[in-house]
């Protein structure tokens, strides 16, 4: 897009292009790496619930603040990865993450608000997402699953968001900012 705007800018060398590309790909790559890392045997308590919680926070944050780097196909791929590493029925996480992405893109007004408002919105979204995932999993397995893991997953997502958002905000402004390339 930016090459169409008039103005003076440095010449597009190969390194500059690579730099810009890696900054653009940072959100998706970072989310995928986090998901793979959480599948590794750290023996942390609640590691299984951590995967969907982290994916939710990542997709929500980047869809809200940089939708160009978190496009629907990318969200689809991340959902598929989450389904494969978390032994979920395939398609469930894909749908949940796509819905979250749709909501976040529609609520772009939030991007201008303070942190607390965004967090509150995320808590609502996480509650909805946990509920949808629970209902779909029950429906696909044709049996009632224990509710505790849904509640725990929701709590984890809501509580984890501030820490992730802090790190992502730093990355958004510095490391992963395509304007800085």
């Amino acid at each position: 897009m930016s090459e169409r705007l008039p103005g003076i800018r440095p010449q597009q060398t190969l390194w500059r292009r690579l730099d810009a590309a890696s900054r653009t790909a940072f959100p998706a790559a970072c989310t995928a790496l986090l998901l793979l890392a959480l599948a590794a045997p750290f023996r942390m308590p609640g590691q299984a619930q951590l995967q969907p919680a982290v994916a939710l926070a990542c997709v929500f944050f980047w869809s809200l603040f940089r939708p160009s780097s978190m496009s629907p196909p990318v969200v689809f791929a991340l959902g598929l990865l989450l389904d494969l590493v978390s032994l979920q029925s395939p398609g469930v996480s894909v749908l949940v993450l796509l819905l979250v992405h749709g909501l976040a893109v529609r609520w772009r007004v939030l991007a201008g608000q303070g942190f607390l408002v965004v967090w509150l919105a995320f808590v609502l979204v996480a509650a909805g997402a946990a509920l949808v995932a629970y209902v779909l999993s029950c429906g696909l397995m044709l049996r009632l699953l224990p509710v505790q893991s849904m509640l725990f997953q929701f709590g984890l997502a809501a509580g984890l968001y501030p820490a992730l958002a802090w790190a992502f905000t730093l990355a958004h402004r510095g490391l992963a900012n395509p304007e800085g390339a």
Partner: protein, 292 residues
Amino acid sequence: MIRLSIPVRQALSKLTLPVLIAAAFGLMLLGKADAILAERARMALADALAPLFATLAEPLATVQRATDEVHGLLELRADNARLREENENLRRWHAVALALDAENATLKANLRWIPDPAPSYTTARVVADAGGVYARAVLLSTGPNHGMTKGQIALDERGLVGRITELGTRSARVLLLTDMNSRIPVIMENSRARAMLLGTNGARPRLSFWPEGVQPVEGERIVTSAEAGAFPAGLPVGVVRYSASNVPEIETAARLDRLEVVRVFNYGLRGLVAPEVLARPEAVRPAEGRRR
């Protein structure tokens, strides 16, 4: 890149999300209709990740050992007292066991007892707790040509862990006995009554379907039963513990939360497992579909 007019491009970008949401529903239907496809995709990913996790497991285990060491040093005194008491107790049992062993040997000699063949086994490292929110399973890293088949039985050094449910070329997935889909025929050791062990995704699986007139006793040992030919008889599973709501649950003998190495045994059983080996290929689908 194809040059499109701006309205067309806007319309396309608005369409992407609904189309992908529809694709997600399609994926769910596909996963439900063809469970083998999802399983294959999952094992391909696991195969790719297993070597990575195996290299990671080594330094992680070192850290784990260091913390365990510190804990151990702190609890040394209490452990010592407990061990002394336990040793005393075990010495008595040792005498009993030796006497019973001798008696058993003479009785077997008199009966012309044909001993069971010793089962062959493969030892494999657990590289990832591959369980998700709604499943309990572990991933084993095996070399190529591991010779494992579906339905083989995994044990750790203390007792039953679970069964192999999915196989890749260099990895295998073990469904733990705590998983919701796990059903294991067991025998209560004192009453010799048969029962089923149902996984609940919690730490302790539930005991059910015991016959009328028998009640599981707190602390009773539970072992596998050879019913239906899925397991050999007598593998230690755990002991009965009543929950707060008075439901008999099993405290597993195997330490399922800290599995490091498991042995996968080939007992040559052809019970409920591996519907693929049946002559009728159409029998594969429904049996596979029901499991997920």
